[in-house]
Symmetry: C2
Subunit: 128 residues, 2 copies
Amino acid sequence: MKYITHLLAAIIIMTTASLSHAQKKDGKVLRHVVLFKFKDSSSAEEVKKVEIAFAALKGKISLINDFEWGKNSSPEGLNQGLTHCFFATFASDKDRDAYLIHPDHKAFVEILKPHLDKVTVIDYWTEK
Amino acid sequence: MKYITHLLAAIIIMTTASLSHAQKKDGKVLRHVVLFKFKDSSSAEEVKKVEIAFAALKGKISLINDFEWGKNSSPEGLNQGLTHCFFATFASDKDRDAYLIHPDHKAFVEILKPHLDKVTVIDYWTEK
């Protein structure tokens, strides 16, 4: 009987975890899409420093719920010179606003600035 | 004993499902980020038709693993006139390539074309 109780408890915990994941996935979240073109004069090492500094914000600013990034690999040639995409997720526009003025974000912008040639930013609420 | 066997089977199934989800999340996926600016001459109704036609591709082309879209709500003013973001996920560049030449995608492009003013496309592999 003790076994069954433990097993039932395990099932309840796993089902609850699974449901809360589904609710989070189905709910609306705010995406923050940031595209960069770096200056031709910026070295690969300098660009790498910017990549690392941006990615490090996820560990510094708890407002960021999810973060990923990568370099353009589209064969379509429609990237308009932009080479990098950074993709952050926030729970609300309040969180996004607080992120934008966060000291760690501002410090990152100072690292980025000398190397930034072009930037495009779009935020959107997912409508799945 | 039969109960315990059933419960254990249920736990194994749920654990397997949970692990396969984690593997998928941890593994690399190819993101396809598409930004549009529509022509000023295009009506709200015409833009809506493009939005619906793009979103409908998810149900038509099984190569698309995930799809979401939304209208720009960034307060930064760095959207370069682009107003819409469509965000598709593929398992591989082969799937993305097959999507690009898929008849249903080509049919969508014909619906889009008359209303498209500016476009930016970046694909990237997530490096989480």
